[in-house]
């Protein structure tokens, strides 16, 4: 399925496995239901990622994070925003691997997804065919600044920018 990151199209190095048998797949993306089993057979050079449904709690996932290189969160529909909060919680826990949104998202959600901690968007063919990559890159930059502190690149939010402006004004006055 087509994959995007903040720079545009990205090749997918991950291979999906239906069951727990990950054999000699170097980067195996396994369903949540078989994660424990797959981790049991993990070879030293192998990396494992998991595709989670968006209705599991962060607490259920947390114990596995140190052994994962990718967490893909399913978006069953684009209007189902649970994945945004899950990604936030996963990043807050210090997870440094890839977080992927997997489902029929729309270009207007790209900036939100990146701000919440996602790195990549994996789209169904039909969604990707309707919404070419330039639309995503364009939509990503719809807003030059946002109102929320703590989401996305620091300094890109209004609260930080107003703080910086106050500091600059204070320096100029001294």
């Amino acid at each position: 399925m087509p994959l995007l990151d903040r720079n545009g199209h990205r090749e997918d190095r991950w291979t999906r496995s239906e069951g727990a048998a990950i054999g000699n797949i170097p980067a195996a993306l396994v369903p949540w239901e078989v994660l424990v089993e797959a981790l049991d057979t993990q070879e030293p050079e192998q990396v494992i990622g998991v595709l989670i449904p968006n209705n599991i709690s962060f607490a259920e996932l947390a114990p596995f994070l140190p052994r994962l290189a990718l967490v893909a969160i399913a978006f069953p529909a684009y209007g189902d925003g649970r994945g945004f909060s899950l990604a936030r919680q996963i990043r807050r826990a210090g997870f440094a691997g890839e977080i992927r949104a997997s489902g029929p998202l729309i270009a207007d959600q790209f900036a939100y997804a990146l701000s919440c901690g996602f790195d990549t968007i994996e789209l169904p063919e039909a969604s990707a065919a309707r919404q070419p990559v330039p639309q995503w890159l364009n939509a990503k930059d719809s807003f030059s600044a946002t109102y929320q502190r703590g989401y996305g690149e620091s300094g890109r939010n209004v609260l930080d920018q107003r703080r910086a402006a106050r500091a600059a004004a204070l320096n100029a006055a001294e």
Binding site: A113, C116, Q131, Q135, N138, R166
Partner: protein, 556 residues
Amino acid sequence: MYRYDEFDERFVRERVAQFTDQVARRLDGSLTEDEFKPLRLKNGVYLQLHAYMLRIAVPYGTLNSRQLRQLALIGERYDRGYGHFTTRQNLQFNWPKLRDVPAILGLLADVEMHCIQTSGNCIRNVTADHFAGVAQDEIEDPRPTAELIRQWSSAHPEFSYLPRKFKIAVTGAEADRAVIKAHDIGLRLRRHPDTHETCYEISVGGGLGRTPMIGKVVRDYLPKKDLLAYLEAIMRVYNLEGRRDNKYKARVKILVHEIGAEEFTRRVEAEFALLDGPSINADPEEAARIAAYFAPPRYETLPAVSNTLEAAKAANPAFARWVEVNTAPHKVPGYAALTISLKPIGQAPGDATSEQMRLVADLAERYSFDELRVTHAQNLVLPHVRQRDLFAIWHQLGEAGLASANVGLVTDIISCPGLDYCALATARSIPIAQAIQSRFADEARQREIGPLGIKISGCINACGHHHVGHIGILGLEKRGIESYQITLGGDDTENAAIGEILGPGLAAEEVPDAIERIVSVYLAARSEGESFIDNVRRIGLAPFKAAFQETARAAA
């Protein structure tokens, strides 16, 4: 009032450009209709029965004259010369053409206005006490809080695809004029008894619709500086755990109800404890920057009682009655907060023509420090009027048909647009309101009855807030015929309560009689000075039910 800085200005312009691009992507097939619909709703564009409707945000109900004049212009140029003020302090235009929407958004942006998040499953326009900043019982002005929340909730990366819509209201007074207990989150500014610091009391899970609930207090005293982090905690719990299997069970009130207020609070507090406040909250300097915009205007030093006013009242009883009914005390001596009724007998509640808007704008500019408010009761307020100017204002309002002396009385009816406009409605609302108004048109009789809030919704979604009306009227459709269910005992104040159903549904033409009978029970049973709602509380529903049954029997 708040003025945009360069960021706010650019944000709104970028939102207009984004919406224009979204429309283009819909037209070229990049977006399906299902994908586009939530995007259009988040910009206030509804497809209604006969036409598109555009809902314009009036943050916490505050406007200046320039903004109201611009709304008048839009109404004239792109609608049919009028607009409709809503129970969420917003303004709706009922007849704009879709192709004109970008132009309208541009005109709005010119006066620091927008349609952002006036619909859709996101945090909606924040509402507040319409007497904010002037009420005598106020501890602190709620508008800086509401503005901070407006900014924080705009295009929120995490909370723009919630299970359902989400409404926040703020009050800073003892008396609740913002119906905070019927909101997803209700905030009340209050002083901590020990530290005397101003804090927030936070209620969650109120709401009307098909499952009316009164909000539950989850935090008695939240320090002001922690507001955004606490809101983030509430929203995260809701976003993750709110039901998405059934849109009728998706509001936060259902989550709070199903897991219990205690468990909900525990989850919010657990999430809040994990948050790093300073990396989320607004700096105290930012809060102060916003608050400075709401500093009181330069009031004159005036005597508490205006001799000019007293003389005019003595000479003109009709004026005196209007002053008594439509003005509220102001915290500054010699001033009054004036409510302009948009409920003249026989008109659609909350409607104002472009000419009327211009007149009110002129009056606000001349007599009220250029400020006015929209109330959730669908009226307008001139918040800072010198008492001695009231007579001149009354004259000018009278010429425009806006001097009805009925604020808070039986004809000051709250009503949704109903089946005359709305695609969701199951029955008409406006004609019912008009019929009741005609029945009680006599002003002396209205004053004799005293404060009485009738609220009408044309469907179970309860936009007319019927559950919290002293008398609530809900229009339903039964086997192709409109049927009106009457509730009694609702309350939209700090004593918030959900009304109870009196009996079987009535036909439209029977409703005024039923109201008449209910009122008669009250008039016969009330003690000296006892208001309608106090009387209902004291004597209970039984006598009203009995009288109501007679109406139902008489009709059968």
